[in-house]
């Protein structure tokens, strides 16, 4: 365990794009590495992904491990987890942060078993304990009602998946460079019985939620599927995207992929406009990092009205059309 050194982050890159979570992990990882006096290393797996190494260096990585092969073009749990387990066995990292994206959640879980180490899920804060140098990962449990700090004392690396948008993206330092270490793909070892057939791009009606700067979200108060058309109008006018709390998804008014909250997605837009959303803690878990929260709700006592920056007591069917009018 003593010879385990350096802080690793997993730089997710699929379909020709480096995930924004990579830059968030570099922020979190850079601090851990500096506190330990160790290097910050990023792991890139995929096909034609080596080009992202430069981005990773410019955002704080000292070393980038790259395994680049056609067989890694699409994410398959076993293949990725086996490559990671081999990389870990060879280079012995001390801490390893992965994104708590769909891919990262699954990959971190399988890798932890292959490696034989502990994993904390979906942390929102990671720090190094001064006394023993252990990773203290804090995460919400019981739907965000309770925060728990978790350690992994006896096995390395201490693994942790980090909730997207818990950290700011690392700033770019133009020209900053580092060392690329290529790791060979082994078609005999890095295998799976699963087959990738195709990718179906989300039809979407506009912007990807994770990239939207303005989000107009609807809750139970929207009352019907057609109500989301009104929210779409407002989102379109503001150049934003539409989302929902759990109730409209459960009622079948809108697809699950638009659900914000603990059991859905986490977003961190500049403006989050919550229409007819009561603001249960599970929902807040997915949007409380927004720069500005606007709540439109009939009930002045709804929990969301207490955390919103701007609380509008009123019927969304009065207020939203009037907003559209005011925006003309």
């Amino acid at each position: 365990m003593k010879d385990c050194k350096n802080v690793w982050i997993f730089a997710e890159a699929q379909r020709g794009k480096l995930s924004p979570t990579a830059l968030e992990l570099l922020t979190a990882g850079r601090k851990l590495a500096d506190d330990l006096g160790e290097k910050l290393c990023a792991v890139l797996l995929g096909y034609q992904v080596e080009k992202f190494a430069r981005d990773l260096f410019e955002h704080g990585a000292d070393v980038v491990y790259v395994c680049d092969d056609k067989a890694l073009e699409h994410y398959l749990d076993d293949v990725y987890a086996r490559v990671l387990a081999d990389l870990i066995a060879l280079y012995k990292p001390n801490k390893f942060l992965l994104p708590a994206t769909n891919l990262g959640r699954s990959l971190s879980a399988k890798t932890a078993i292959f490696v034989g180490t502990g994993l904390t899920a979906d942390a929102t804060e990671v720090v190094i304990n001064n006394e023993d140098g252990q990773l203290h990962a804090t995460r919400p449990t019981f739907g965000g009602n309770l925060m728990a700090t978790i350690t992994c004392a006896h096995t390395r690396p201490e693994m942790c998946s980090l909730r997207p948008m818990s950290y700011e993206k690392a700033p770019r330092q133009a020209g900053r460079t580092g060392e690329v270490v290529k790791f060979p793909f082994d078609p005999q070892r890095h295998t799976t019985l699963a087959k990738f057939l195709e990718f179906i791009k989300s039809k979407g009606d506009g912007l990807d939620l994770s990239e939207a700067e303005i989000i107009v979200a609807g809750g139970r108060g929207v009352g019907k599927a057609e109500g989301f058309e009104l929210l779409h109008k407002l989102a379109d006018r503001l150049g934003g995207a539409v989302a929902a709390s759990r109730a409209p998804v459960d009622s079948g008014w809108i697809d699950y992929r638009y659900q914000i909250g603990l059991t859905g997605r986490t977003v961190k837009p500049k403006v989050y406009i919550a229409c007819g959303i009561s603001g249960q803690i599970q929902h807040m878990a997915g949007m409380s990092g927004s720069d500005v929260i606007v709540a439109i709700n009939k009930d002045a006592e709804a929990p969301i009205m207490k955390v919103a920056n701007y609380a509008v007591q009123g019927d969304l069917y009065d207020v939203v059309p009037a907003m559209l009018e005011a925006l003309k």
Partner: protein, 265 residues
Amino acid sequence: MHIVACVKQTPKSDNVKIDPATGCLIRSGAASAMNPFDEYALEEAVTLKEQLGGTVSVITMGPPQAEAVLRDSIARGADAVYQLGDMAFAGSDTWSTSYALSKGIEKINSVRPVDLIICGKQTNDSDTGHIGPQISAWLKMPNAAFVKKVVEVKEKSIVVERLTEDGSEVLELPFPCVLSVVKEINSPRVRSVKGRMAAKRAEVTKWTADDIGADKTMLGVKNCPTRVVKSFVPKREVCAVAVEGANGKEKAANLVKLLKDGKYI
């Protein structure tokens, strides 16, 4: 087709109370039920059984009262239920829990070969989503998480659609394999009267750590790799500004002005 669904008894999500002084869950009087995400796992297992024929077995790990979710599973269409109960399991993290479940599934498999294992996406108490992928790692099976649709069941494989942030991926996995499913996959049925009757009569098979041949040095709060060193109730900030106005129209106009003045829009 032999399908194993993994379920957990958890506090009802709308009924969680935390003692602010100790940061501990107040269990007395807290209603427990099947983890809501596991309802979709079980429903998918029962649906596939109805389409293809076969058996649905359900496994849980938990204290004696967790038997209730196994009886509930029978009411929802399961055929056989297994409970892993032993003080040795207490306080296990996901590493140890997935190990114990994998040993239990191996024992089920030794009697009747298992084709498919289905888990919920995550639990509503720990929210990790680790168990499905981790069971597959212990059992050396292929897996897919965040499965939103079973596209096709072939003789020796299953085609599924897995949710990604930007769309979905269609994968084909040979049996045996492990799926973790999201709620988009189905709408769990209402328990039938016949099912409720069967639930009362059902025999719950109970296994200890020794029964499933689990290595006790890999189980429980003392042996699992991670531990909780601190828990606390998160602080909530109150910062609301009530937007003024005589009616919705005025408030809307004032809100737009505030947002524009702040250069938010």
